[in-house]
């Protein structure tokens, strides 16, 4: 249909307001693009650094694309090649020795006996792209990645099961029933969101220590089975949007409240459950404080603690640290792209308002 329109007719209807909004949109896009560049550059730096070798790490400023100098063999030594200008003539020569005053000795590889003393700054080093993917397996092996990954997955997924199970029950209790003090308890629950965790940290540690659970994964998993304010709140807000008629129909059919939860509410609330599951994954995967406190022996570390220690021990190996970091952020990024909608449409957050 639109193809029949005369484009000139459209242009003539191009009013001032449209021009203004087009300008606004262009400015918005421009600012967003600039910001996006700032967000993406650290990621590029991460990837680029992770595939450099030791020599490439020493280049300052660091090139974004990992480069290495072309070398040539002179008397059994690998020497860097330069595009040099000698007597107005452009030639490729190798730098063999540094001299004071920013100068160096250059030789033609074909005729290594004749040296030329030239100012280094005037010559152009010859470089090629050099990528060291082997940093990845090396780094992962050094930090015992498999063991750390297993621990992290255990903490993340067992905790997720506990969180989904307990928070569904509690959210259902707070969204579908009337009982004395229930509102007070709900406000109490919400207020724990604002409670600084330090105030309960030490006795909790002492408690787990008495149980003999320190240096096991249990202190990171078991508390998840006792619900948490944030996820209960999000789930409750969602449960409230599920029509009560469905509950009533189930009740007439003789379903118990537990059956109603399992067969009516849970299937309806899948988007909300998926959302809190994703948030839990991100939280547990990235969590550092609690694993640091509870896990002492390297065999029990999670990735976050392992990576920090890896850095504390081998900070000079920036390439390996960055390779390990890249691997650590990969699962959250993949999950994020798979579940974009949860984030970009912010469905579950709308309950926060007022």
């Amino acid at each position: 249909m639109t193809s029949f329109k005369n484009p000139k007719a459209d242009q003539s209807r191009f009013t001032g307001i449209q021009a203004q909004s087009l300008l606004l949109k262009s400015v918005t896009t421009f600012i967003l693009a600039a910001g996006a560049a700032i967000i993406m550059i650290p990621f590029l730096y991460l990837l680029s650094t992770s595939v450099k070798d030791r020599d490439q790490l020493r280049q300052s400023p660091p090139p974004l694309i990992p480069m290495a100098a072309d070398t040539v063999n002179i008397n059994g030594q690998a020497e860097p090649l330069y595009h040099v200008t000698v007597n107005g003539q452009a030639r490729d020569m190798a730098l063999i020795k540094f001299r004071p005053g920013g100068k160096a000795l250059f030789v033609d590889p074909a005729n290594p006996d004749q040296t030329f003393e030239l100012v280094i700054a005037d010559q152009v080093p010859i470089k090629h792209v050099e990528i060291h993917f082997e940093n990845y397996p090396k780094a992962l092996q050094q930090m015992k990645f498999n063991k750390l990954l297993l621990n992290t997955l255990l903490v993340t997924f067992l905790g997720m099961v506990g969180m989904l199970f307990s928070c569904s029950l509690v959210a259902y209790g707070f969204s579908r029933f009337r009982a004395p003090w229930l509102n007070v308890l709900f406000i109490l629950l919400l207020s724990t969101i604002m409670l600084p965790s330090q105030v309960r940290l030490i006795p909790t540690y002492v408690f787990f220590n008495k149980l003999g659970w320190v240096d096991t994964l249990l202190p990171l998993i078991v508390p998840q089975f006792f619900a948490n304010a944030y996820d209960v709140f999000l789930l409750r807000q969602f449960f409230m949007t599920i029509p009560l008629e469905l509950d009533d129909a189930a009740k007439i059919d003789g379903a118990s409240p537990l059956q109603t939860l399992m067969y009516i509410i849970i299937p309806q609330a899948r988007p909300a459950l998926v959302s809190v599951a994703i948030f839990h994954f991100l939280y547990a995967w990235n969590d550092f404080y609690e694993p640091l406190i509870y896990l002492h022996s390297p065999d029990h570390w999670t990735l976050a603690v392992g990576l920090q220690t890896f850095n504390a021990l081998y900070a000079v190996n920036t390439n390996y640290i960055m390779a390990a970091s890249a691997v650590m952020i990969l699962p959250p990024i993949i999950l994020y792209f798979l579940a974009q909608k949860v984030f970009t449409q912010g469905v579950v957050f709308t309950g926060i308002k007022g």
């Binding site: 700032i38 400023p61 029950l169 229930l182 105030v199 504390a312 007022g354």
Partner: protein, 307 residues
Amino acid sequence: MNFSSGKRTLSLARREALWAYAFIAPWTIGFLIFTIGPMLASLFFSFTDYNIIDSPRWIGITNYVNLFHDDLFWHALGVTFKFAVIALPLGMVFSYTIAVLLNSKIKGINIWRTLYFLPSVIAGVAVALLWGRIFDPKFGILNPFLEKFGIQGPGWLSDPQWAITALVIMSLWGGGGNVIIYLAGLQGVPTDLYDAAKVDGATGWQRFRYVTLPMTTPVIFYNLVLGLIGTFQYFTEVYVLTNGAGGPARSTLFYNLYLYQNAFKYFHMGYASTMAWVLFIIVLGLTLLIFRSSELWVYYEGQIKGK
């Protein structure tokens, strides 16, 4: 199990209440074991000398007196406040502005949103390590970038004068989580309000100032309160970047880091509990202050509608 035919029939209301209590039991039990219990216990510990091996010894208010004479306590409090005063307002303005931009109707907006939220999903050790390298004066990328504009960049994390600023920059980069919440708030503003404002001849700025901003104050309020609490919990980044020391020259010895050192490095569990309770009281006081002030600047739609 048909109760209704039995003699001791539970009234419907009581049965409903029992179900409710049963369903919320996981939280109630957890609240007693992992919140109220530990809170009271740490209050008790704060009046004791306790190293976790020997049983706690009651020493009255000694810990509190020592704390007020502890220079490092005041220093850590200062560092935390300094960070809060810079990072909180800056972060809020930044994330709010980005959220407004991401709420506009331009092509491919979901791609932009995806990009902007990305840093928030990977927050943690890896990001701290990455920024540690970016800030490196020689091999990082920040200073060479500044140099292009003729600016001689500082030593950032190795310079006591600049370390906090470096952490602020890092926190701004990772602030996508707040953007998501602001965006949700912006999307919740009813479109008929904008239409009404347009009919009244309001300009774009006026629509923002008199419709968008007031309608999103509850979300701003929410982010302000949680941001404040978050600042006092600030830990991972500074622990990773300073190997738990809070350097250089203690310039990044945040409150939570100092508390951690006392509790889990020196095992001064009593003293650390005192710090935890003082922190709790400070955060509670500030939160109440924000709540009080919220009557002046937070607008709740429900209040007008007579909720």
